[in-house]
Every structure is written in structure tokens, then in C-alpha cells.
């Protein structure tokens, strides 16, 4: 019976990722009129499923097997707290990383309940969280500079057409990453505890994510896309492409990293290149605060709840 709780929490997290990350993947495309919302959601579903099936196992293994030795109580507390935090953050329009909430919760519950926590894996994950947005920032600067040189020599209508195609391809890459990394982080613990097989987990997860996208997406992108620095299609492409490539690399390494933070890093890179004064540091501070607080808060909450559950 207790095994149902982590499953419900996972379904809730997948639903929230869907409501949150359609905007990461296809927000710019929908806003630019390249694709309709409905088509974007269908594409998201397809690529999330492909990502989950082809590369989801790497991240699932890190989160579900190599971080904490899981039991059903750890799983239930960690995933329920993560689900609550992610849903709350979406409701409040905060760009909170689902990875950070899940990892913080698993480690918090694991430590409180005396499970063995592999600190070398935890350290690697934290390093990935730091390196991935910085990597996106640098890559976005390089991509933006290269595109500026290439596009300068091309006629306008050709540039426009290429940009539209690239933005759509970017969306597909991000959608793929959502399945291979974001969703895999949420599904890893239940797969390695044996509640579902990887294929079952990816199928259920994709379905719930798709429903979340259909019902509640298009919220956080307003903060991410428009808030930090003024974003045109060209800058949007550079930021999104660098984030997509970065997450793809980290997915191959099995590291759960946030697409949202990578896109923020990419936008920062483009912003710095355009002139530091275009970057809104007040908003960036808020995002950085959320970056630090999310894992700490999920860790502390799960730690306390787990201690209470023992006593």
C-alpha cells in the first residue's frame, strides 16, 4: 500500500514538469508563431518519450541507485515533499528546478532514516548544477558570436527561415532532454526500487507530463524568457541551443541537471555579450536565491519529516 504513495508523487511531479517545461522547450516557438500550442504539446510528448526510452536510464541510475540506498519510507517522504515543492513553485511562478527538489529530498530523507548516502555522487551532482549553467553561458556567447558572423552574410528572408527551423529543432532537443533528464530524475527512484520497469515508468511519466503540458503550461517562461534581459529570436536561439547541448552532454554523463537553469545561463551569456547593462541583476539574484534555497529547503523538510516519522 505504501508503494502507491511514491507512484502518486511521481505522477504529480511528471504532471508539474509538463506544466512547467513545455515553455522551456517550445515557449519561444509558440510565442513566435512557428508552431501552434497544440502541435507543440504533441511534439513534446513524442520527444519526451523518445528521450526517456533512449537515454533516460543514465540519469535514472544516478538518482535511483547511486545516490541513496532507497527504502519505501525514504521514497514516499522524498517524492511527496518534492512533488509539493514543485507544484507550489509552479503555482507561484518561480523557476524552481525539479532536480534540486528531488535530490535534496532524497538526501534529506536518506540521512535522517540512516540510509547510506554516497557523498561522492552527491558532490558530482552539485558540481553539475554549478557547471551546467556556466557552461551554457559560455556556449551561448560562442553560438551568438558565430551566428552573428554567419547571418550577417545571408539575405533576410533566408536568415528568418533558418532561424525558424533552428528554433523548432531546439525545442525538440529540449523536449528530448526533458524526457532523458528531467523526467528520468523523477522516475529513477521508483524504477530502481522496482515499482515500475523503465519502459512502464517512461510511458506513465510521459503521459502525465503530456497532460500537465496540455492543461497548465505557459507560465514560467514569462519570467525566464522576458524577465532577465530583452530576448529576440536570435538571442533566444543562442540561449536555448547552448542549454540544449549542455543538458544533452550532462544527460550522457548521467548527471541530473536543470534545463531551466541552463537556459537562464544561456540568456545571461547573450545578455552579457549585448552589454552587461541589459541583464536584470535583481531578477537574477532572485533566481540564484531559489537555486540555493530549493535543495536546502527540500533537504531540511525531508530530514525533519523523516525524523518525526521515526519518533
Amino acid at each position: 500500500m505504501l508503494e502507491v504513495l511514491p507512484l502518486i508523487a511521481c505522477i504529480l511531479i511528471a504532471f508539474s514538469i509538463g506544466s512547467n517545461d513545455t515553455s522551456n522547450a517550445f515557449g519561444i516557438c509558440i510565442g513566435a508563431g512557428i508552431i501552434t500550442f497544440r502541435r507543440a504539446v504533441y511534439l513534446l510528448g513524442v520527444f519526451v518519450f523518445i528521450g526517456g526510452i533512449l537515454q533516460g536510464k543514465n540519469v535514472m541510475k544516478t538518482v535511483g541507485r547511486e545516490l541513496v540506498s532507497i527504502n519505501v519510507l525514504i521514497l514516499s517522504i522524498a517524492l511527496l515533499v518534492s512533488a509539493f515543492m514543485i507544484v507550489f513553485a509552479n503555482w507561484k511562478r518561480l523557476p524552481v528546478s525539479s532536480h534540486q527538489a528531488i535530490i535534496g529530498s532524497l538526501v534529506g530523507a536518506g540521512m535522517a532514516l540512516g540510509a547510506s548516502v554516497r557523498y561522492d555522487t552527491l558532490l558530482k551532482i552539485i558540481e553539475s548544477w554549478i557547471i551546467s549553467p556556466l557552461g551554457s553561458m559560455l556556449l551561448a556567447m560562442v553560438v551568438y558570436s558565430i551566428c552573428e558572423i554567419l547571418f550577417r552574410r545571408m539575405p533576410l528572408f533566408k536568415v528568418e527561415r533558418i532561424l525558424r527551423t533552428l528554433l523548432l529543432l531546439n525545442g525538440m532537443i529540449i523536449a528530448y532532454n526533458t524526457g532523458a533528464n528531467e523526467l528520468a530524475t523523477a522516475l529513477g527512484p521508483i524504477v530502481y526500487y522496482g515499482i515500475l520497469t523503465p519502459i512502464e515508468a517512461v510511458a506513465v511519466g510521459t503521459l502525465m507530463l503530456w497532460l500537465g503540458a496540455m492543461c497548465l503550461s505557459s507560465r514560467v517562461i514569462e519570467t525566464v524568457g522576458k524577465g532577465i534581459t530583452s530576448l529576440d529570436a536570435f538571442s533566444g536561439f543562442s540561449a536555448q541551443f547552448s542549454a540544449g547541448m549542455n543538458v544533452l552532454i550532462f544527460t550522457t554523463l548521467g548527471m541530473p541537471v536543470s534545463t531551466t537553469y541552463c537556459i537562464i545561463g544561456g540568456i545571461m551569456g547573450v545578455g552579457i555579450l549585448k552589454g552587461v547593462e541589459t541583464v536584470r541583476f535583481d531578477l537574477l539574484k532572485r533566481i540564484m536565491l531559489s537555486w540555493i534555497l530549493t535543495p536546502l529547503l527540500s533537504f531540511a523538510t525531508c530530514y525533519l519529516i523523516s525524523l518525526l516519522s521515526i519518533s
Binding site: 513566435a32 547571418f151 539575405p155 533576410l156 528572408f157 533566408k158 529576440d232 536570435f234
Partner: protein, 209 residues
């Protein structure tokens, strides 16, 4: 979807064709206007009004398609401005044609200069069409817009000469003078507006870079 993006069809291709058609109508209107004032034909010139109506329809179609989400948002604003400016060019050619039907016969010297302006307007419309087409296959449009600007400056110089000559001419009534003034003003405004359209195309060209 990909084949549409690849071949440039869909809404974007339709808008490009509509713009091409719009500028071609301007060119044809300028040509008809030139022939009519050269031949002093005050009947056929009324066909310019029909062309203006056609231009209006095209402008509306362009605006609706842009509203439907054709092209990236970064260039939609300038495409809209271009459609509006092209419409103003046709309006002004129509105004000049209407005034031509009302004014008495002008002094030969003045008329020759008016014909020269109409010739330049036609050349400018040709150049505008080439500049717009260049958005598909050229990256630097500066030389083309400079050509348009040089022609506009020539029109400005002729306009000053016309007014200098007209000041020495007697008119029968205030309204006749007013009609002649309006004819010259509309005729010379055509080049101003074509120059504006050329500038918008140039802005469009750098807007995504």
C-alpha cells in the same frame, strides 16, 4: 511543416508574393501616370484609382496574414509599416492623378519638369521592387537604398525649380492655384514615400542581425 519552412511557402511565401504584387501595382500606377501626363490624357489616368483600390485589398491581406502569425515577431512590425507605406504611395499617386484631372494645362516648361518627376518616380518604383526582391538573395542593401535616395534628391531639386517658375505664373483663381499646388505636392510626395519604403526595407534587413 519542414517542407513548408524549407521551400518558404505557407503564410510567409504568400506575404512575400503579396508585397511583390503591391510594389508591382505601384510601378504600374507610376507608369500609367507617366504615360497619361506625357500624352495629356485626362481620361485614362482615372484607372490609377482602380489600382489604388487593389493596393488597399492587398494591404489588408498582408496585415491579416501577419496577424495570423506569419514571420518571426521581430520583423512583423516593420513588415506592417512597409505595407502601410506602400499603401500611402498608391494613395498619393491616386491623389496626384485626381488633381491632374482638375488642373488647367500647365506651362510647357513646368509640364516637362512634372514629366521628369513622373519618370523618376517610375524608376524609383522599379528600384524599390528590386530592393524588396534583394531581401531574398542579398545581405547588403545599402547600395540599392542609396540609389533610391539619390533619385529622391533629384526630385527635390526639380520641385524647387517648379515652384520658382510657378511663382512667376498668373492663376485665374485661388482654387485653381490650390489645385496646381496640390498636384505638384502629391507628385513630389510619391518619391518621398518610396524613399521611406526603401528605408523600411533597409531597417527590415538589419532587424534580425
Amino acid at each position: 511543416m519542414f517542407w513548408r519552412l524549407k521551400l518558404g511557402r505557407g503564410k510567409e511565401g504568400e506575404i512575400i508574393s503579396l508585397f511583390r504584387e503591391h510594389i508591382t501595382i505601384i510601378r504600374d500606377a507610376c507608369e500609367l501616370f507617366l504615360e497619361c501626363i506625357r500624352e495629356k490624357d485626362r481620361v485614362t489616368i482615372s484607372e490609377v484609382c482602380e489600382m489604388e483600390k487593389l493596393g488597399d485589398t492587398i494591404r489588408r491581406e498582408i496585415v491579416l496574414k501577419l496577424y495570423d502569425g506569419a514571420f518571426l515577431p521581430g520583423i512583423r512590425g516593420n513588415l506592417y509599416r512597409l505595407a502601410e507605406t506602400l499603401d500611402e504611395v498608391l494613395d498619393t499617386v491616386e491623389d496626384a492623378a485626381i488633381m491632374f484631372m482638375m488642373i488647367p494645362e500647365l506651362d510647357e516648361g513646368v509640364m516637362a519638369k512634372c514629366v521628369r518627376i513622373a519618370e523618376i518616380n517610375l524608376k524609383m518604383a522599379d528600384e524599390l521592387l528590386k530592393t524588396f526582391e534583394a531581401l531574398r538573395n542579398e545581405s547588403d542593401l545599402r547600395d540599392r537604398t542609396i540609389k533610391i535616395r539619390i533619385m529622391e534628391e533629384e526630385v527635390d531639386a526639380i520641385k524647387r525649380e517648379i515652384f520658382r517658375r510657378l511663382m512667376e505664373t498668373d492663376v485665374q483663381s485661388f482654387w485653381q492655384g490650390m489645385a496646381i499646388y496640390n498636384f505638384i505636392r502629391h507628385l513630389t510626395n510619391v518619391s518621398d514615400l518610396i524613399e521611406d519604403a526603401g528605408d523600411i526595407i533597409q531597417i527590415l534587413n538589419v532587424s534580425l542581425r
